[in-house]
């Protein structure tokens, strides 16, 4: 099945440090997205990277995509306590768009 799997499962860092989360998936994709979820809350879309893109930036976020390795990474630079959340990668459905497949997520804890 087409599935994003993040690693590590949990990450604890000090405020100001960079956080890197990785995601692997199994089949071809049209795009890959990263979402954030604060505990018990809804999903916030962070960034989308298309299959023909290798790197994308948005503020303190940097996403890379390696389609040959079927992997992506999310880098959060200069982390803040407010970045504490779960981060999910998600891939589009096999035929594009009708569903998003989520991984299990990385729980990030940023200590002040």
């Amino acid at each position: 099945s087409q599935q994003g799997e993040e690693d590590p499962q949990a990450l604890s860092i000090q405020e100001g440090e960079n956080a890197t989360m990785n995601c692997s998936y199994k089949t071809s994709i049209n795009n890959l997205q990263w979402y954030r979820q604060n505990s018990g809350r809804g999903l916030v879309h962070l960034i989308l990277i298309r299959s023909n893109e290798r790197e994308k930036h948005s503020g303190r976020l940097r996403v890379t995509l390696d389609t040959s390795k079927k992997s992506s990474s999310l880098l959060i630079t200069a982390s803040r306590a407010a970045d504490t959340a779960s981060y999910f990668c998600a891939t589009d459905g096999r035929y594009g768009g009708f569903k998003t497949i989520f991984g299990a997520g990385t729980r990030l804890f940023v200590k002040a």
Binding site: R41, G42, L43, H45, D92, G93, F98, T100, F102, G105
Partner: protein, 112 residues
């Protein structure tokens, strides 16, 4: 900024009862989705809806589930006879195309 809204935020029901979860997608969006997240687990796709019909559904979306767009603004998920294992956070999402899906804050359903 337009957003997806969901009501109620929390719902407690007895096993066997029917529940209706409501969503108001972003107004110019044409694609609508329901996902669920059992506590501590990943977000799972349930169903997508386009042009007043189901586009795709997962194996979770059995005969106990139904979706409807009763008017021009609401999108509902009905569970006919709830089971204990239906307890989860249910997310509605909408999109204007086949890329970014915007998620609502979720409805936390507890079946006793």
């Amino acid at each position: 900024e337009p957003e997806v809204t969901q009501t109620p935020s929390h719902q407690v029901t007895q096993m066997g009862q029917e529940v209706i979860l409501r969503c108001v997608p972003i107004s110019n969006h044409l694609y609508f989705y329901w996902y669920r997240q059992i506590l501590g687990q990943k977000v799972e796709f349930l169903v997508s809806f386009y042009n007043n019909e189901i586009s795709e559904k997962s194996e979770i979306f059995d005969d106990q589930f139904s979706v409807e767009r009763p008017d021009g603004s609401n999108f509902t998920l009905k569970i006919r006879s709830t089971k204990l294992e239906d307890s989860a956070m249910y997310f509605c999402a909408s999109s204007d195309g086949l890329e970014t899906q915007y998620f609502g804050p979720g409805t936390r359903l507890l079946v006793l």
